[in-house]
């Protein structure tokens, strides 16, 4: 299958194999495709053995930070006498990213199975799946699947007849990008404003409801059943580059590209082939100008950088950016970089929780200055002011929203400075009516 395009021969559809197949949403079909076999096996194992397999597989967090999943799980101390919690982060809100949405709307049972295994592995009886409120279709699919799983005895006090309790609950967010930050997500789940918490204490020590908690991304948890079914060695062997980057990764592709959509490739895939072959290249008559490869919070790449990139955790860093969430935003030669960056800054200004001064004031000022430059009213000094503001917004706040606003601003000025200067000297957008439309 594949959605919205049939899978490309260069793809390795593991998580996306059933995208586009509405039948895969039902428990009956999902079981006929091998669903819940991994959970059944897992519930018969020692939790520590599951953690060891996931550690060995090399699976790293797919939400953005890339932290080794098995290691994260091993921070949860067994037998401490406290309730443990698993939170599944389904608050997918990073501009350019729409992969978790597709996992949930096409294969909700894949996520439930991953959540149940993860919860059991970390000694938790309860997993909350925190889904952003705007995801109405994924919410409906997940709600229905959870009900089916309870009715079939897969979840509940006697999960799969093993006498072990595994509860999975869907929790609906209410519109706040910041709730994708793990400590803000926990505050939101507790019924609070979604302000991030200072770390330490880390969630594994004092997280949700003050209890030891692990937070994992949707895509990370959905990969776990495959690893238990086919083994750590198999997963680890799926790499086109370094052993530090194993497995498949979903990349969401959007912007000015011939075939936007989700594509799943083995880590280490050449980014050039990905952009020009798998995704169909630029729109007719256009050329690519810039790529933001890992969601809007990572630095912008020039095409020279992008075309030299291996698609893995280290490869993107070597070429001036980060893998992040895998949200690939492509801009072509018809776009004004100043305008796009100004609009991104406005996003961060809107989404700042306003807790830290550097972020609350910084995101607003950066937006105002960028919009002034875009409108033709900027000065050369503004560029220095932007870089100075960005420096003061990086590494100085409770969470990284502020840093995320600075990343496209700094990289944009460094790599596309001529476009900023043309706005300032020409006192208008050089793209004229086209980009101003």
């Amino acid at each position: 299958m594949g959605f919205p395009h049939p899978s490309h021969p260069s793809e390795t559809p593991l998580l996306s194999e059933h995208f586009g197949n509405p039948a895969a949403r039902s428990l009956t079909t999902w079981r006929s495709l091998g669903g819940y076999q991994a959970l059944e096996r897992a519930l018969g194992m020692e939790p520590s053995a599951i953690v060891a397999i996931v550690k060995e597989s090399g699976l790293r967090g797919r939400g953005g930070a890339g932290f080794p999943t098995g290691m994260k799980w091993s921070f949860m101390k067994p037998g401490d006498g406290k309730p443990h919690y698993l939170c599944c982060n389904a608050d997918e809100s990073e501009p350019g990213t729409f992969k978790d949405r597709e996992i949930m709307r096409w294969t909700p049972h894949a996520l439930i199975e991953g959540c149940a295994i993860g919860a059991y592995a970390i000694g938790a009886e309860t997993c909350y799946i925190y889904i952003r409120g705007e995801f109405t279709e994924p919410l409906r699919a997940m709600d229905a699947a959870v009900r089916e799983a309870y009715a079939a005895g897969i979840l509940g006090a006697n999960a799969m007849g093993t006498g072990k309790r595994v509860d999975v609950h869907v929790h609906k967010g209410a519109g706040a990008y910041i709730c994708g930050e793990e400590t803000a997500l926990m505050n939101s789940l507790e019924g609070r404003r979604g302000n991030p918490r200072i770390k330490p204490p880390f969630p594994a020590v004092a997280g949700l409801f003050g209890k030891p908690t692990t937070i994992n991304n949707v895509e990370t948890l959905a990969a776990v059943p495959h690893i238990l079914n086919r083994g750590a060695e198999w997963y680890k062997s799926m790499s086109l580059s370094s052993p530090k980057s194993a497995g498949t990764k979903l990349f969401s592709v959007c912007g000015n590209v011939a075939k936007p959509g989700n594509y799943e490739v083995v880590l280490g895939f050449p980014f050039k082939d990905f952009l020009y072959d798998v995704c169909g290249g630029p729109l007719p008559g256009r050329t690519f100008k810039a790529v933001i490869p890992g969601g809007s919070s990572v630095p912008i790449q020039t095409m020279a950088e992008a075309e030299a990139t291996r698609m893995d955790y280290e490869g993107f860093v070597e070429q001036g950016s980060m893998l992040g969430s895998g949200g690939v935003i492509v801009f072509d030669d018809d776009q004004c970089m100043v305008k796009l960056i100004a609009r991104l800054a406005r996003f961060y200004a809107h989404e700042s929780c306003a807790q830290c001064t550097q972020c609350r004031e910084g995101t607003a000022w950066v937006t105002r200055i960028l919009e002034r430059i875009e409108a033709g009213g900027g000065t050369m000094d503004d560029l220095d002011t932007l870089l100075n503001l960005s420096e003061n917004m990086t590494g100085k706040t409770i969470c990284v929203l502020s840093d995320s606003c600075a990343a496209p601003v700094v990289s944009g000025i460094q790599k596309f400075r001529d476009e900023f200067e043309a706005h300032i000297t020409g006192k208008r957008c050089p793209m004229g009516a086209r980009a101003a439309a």
Partner: protein, 186 residues
């Protein structure tokens, strides 16, 4: 006792029966949490170790029943969950999806963040403003049918431009499709 429990208990003592302004008992206010809705909330409370954790779901239930979250409704939620009205208002105002004022029958949200912006989202916004008669973002059309707002990233960037109409999510909207979409809502 955790901070949570202390807070909730103290809050219950301070405002035992909505005494502060008496919002839930205003004569023209019909409580939301009665009958089936109350049972639904009680079931929901079994999923969490604190009552406060049911706050976002309870506010969703209010909005589902009433179309928006009024101050009186916030006071009722506070009473039901043993919180203070001020606390509930603090949470309501943090999140963008709770309506603090009545909105049009069809609440239209158009994503205009950069990825969609690069694919012509601004033209989609213009088309909605023109064809609904709203004129300006955030205003409700004179017939009360429509409110149009710009929204930050809806998480469907590969389907530019995504638009939400109440709970319905519509992908790949172009300015040309707008009149036909609005006709379907009538």
């Amino acid at each position: 006792m955790t901070v949570d429990e202390k807070g909730s208990a103290a809050a219950a003592e301070r405002a035992p029966h909505g005494a502060n302004g008496g919002h839930p008992h205003q004569e023209d206010y019909e409580p939301v949490f009665t009958g089936e809705v109350r049972r639904e909330l009680d079931e929901l409370l079994t999923r969490y170790p604190t009552r406060m954790a049911a706050l976002l779901p309870a506010l969703w239930m209010v909005q589902h029943e009433r179309g928006w979250v009024s101050e009186a409704a916030m006071a009722e939620v506070a009473e039901v969950l043993r919180l203070t009205p001020a606390y509930v208002k603090g949470v309501v105002t943090f999140y963008t999806m709770y309506h603090q004022h009545p909105v049009g029958q069809h609440f239209i949200q158009v994503c205009t963040t950069s990825p969609c912006g690069a694919c012509g989202a601004e033209e989609v916004v213009k088309a909605f403003l023109e064809h609904t008669g709203c004129g300006e973002l955030g205003l409700t059309s004179p017939d009360g049918r429509y409110t149009v707002i710009e929204v930050e990233c809806l998480g469907a960037c590969g389907f530019a431009t995504p638009v939400m109409v109440n709970d319905e999510f519509i992908e790949s909207v172009t300015p040309a499709r707008v009149p036909e979409l609005l006709a379907e809502l009538r």
